[in-house]
Symmetry: C2
Subunit: 200 residues, 2 copies
DNA sequence: CCAGATATGTAGTGTTCACTACAGATGTGG
DNA sequence: CCACATCTGTAGTGAACACTACATATCTGG
């Protein structure tokens, strides 16, 4: 099998740069010119490697969720439902205001609403947010089985709630909320989970 | 003063149609062609009346927040902080899944991230979301003064929290969450406010 | 060192976008 | 009825967009 000329850029490094552009400007707001410049490549290299703009977004999302998945594993490893919620929301407050990244969350900034021809972009983002929610729900199901959450509690509703708060914090972060403000939101939000926890 | 030919369309009716297009596709995803078709007018009429695309968005946002303001007044008229939060979040669950409108909230769907040249669109939306939050905060400040909220509570943090949940619910609604799912989120969320309420 | 295969850079392609020039239509004031 | 002002519909405008044709460069297998 013939190999041909090897590519001169590192795909993952380039993806990190593309991720940041999508994160800051959204899918529709990001232009190929911005993406190629940030990635340090020319359009033909981008299309040869990722197919098209949407393919590049999906690759960036894969990378994002993969990194995030590692962190989520740590989150759900917390001992109680309350600790899970606290670790998650406090961590999100920090992550979403980390100056190393654009503010907010790529799964929100990427594109909540899109124009004709990009309808599956919001769907793609929603699917990945739902995966997070599922992971959280499974953890809360376990917490209920362990007697950590009240028998009357609804693990799915709790997971959906925590997800909603996380998304809301992301939007706030992208519109300028600072770390302390987000931590206060997280701190209040955790109390609802605490209210569903069994008395010790 | 000369009057000239009168316009043949009703500006508010046309705005309602434009609002729906922005709501469904976002600012960048909405095209002038879609907007003019929905409004039943031609581009020159749009530009004569609203200046440009961004002017049209602002006019639509003004109309949206005006209608919403009436409802918010009812919300903050609830007797307790808990009742305010419940009325607001339950109402939002219903409004954001009302089939008469696109799902979610225009102040979120309009555009969280935008491309170069539309940077002030997200800012414009954030400003209007902040107005809601301010109204809520003022109400919670009062609740604290009345002894309805604990002395240790932070009205600004509570208002920010409720706003965040509302935004998160909007994103969920736009990605397919049904009314019951949103009501469950609201129901859980209210418990955090309850935890900040003074024991009766 | 040659043939085939893949990557790269230059320089475009057609399409779609927000926006407008212009001519005709419809109103008001004198 | 005329001068003027504003609106409307047709038909575009230049610019920006996602994407690509093509020539050249750089690799591997034989």
């Amino acid at each position: 099998m013939r190999m041909g000329r090897p590519r001169e850029f590192d795909a993952e490094t380039a993806l990190d740069q593309a991720m940041e552009v999508f994160w800051r400007h959204g899918y529709e707001g990001a232009t190929i010119a911005q993406l190629t410049e940030a990635m340090g490549i020319n359009p033909p290299s981008l299309y040869a490697c990722f197919g098209n703009k949407e393919g590049l977004l999906k690759a960036a999302l894969d990378r994002y969720t993969k990194l995030r998945g590692v962190w989520m594993d740590e989150v759900v490893a917390a001992p109680t439902a309350r600790a899970v919620a606290e670790r998650m929301l406090m961590g999100i407050a920090d992550k979403q205001t980390d100056p190393a990244n654009p503010p907010g969350c790529l799964l929100v900034q990427g594109g909540i609403a899109c124009g004709t021809g990009s309808e599956n972009v919001p769907f793609e983002l929603a699917t990945r947010r739902a995966q997070n929610e599922d992971q959280l729900r499974d953890r809360f199901v376990r917490a209920k089985a362990e007697g950590d959450l009240k028998p009357s509690s609804d693990p799915a509703a709790l997971a959906r709630y925590v997800s909603a708060v996380a998304v809301g914090m992301g939007v706030m972060a992208s519109s300028g909320a600072d770390r302390e403000a987000l931590r206060q939101v997280a701190s209040v939000a955790v109390q609802a989970v605490e209210a569903q926890s069994a008395p010790k």
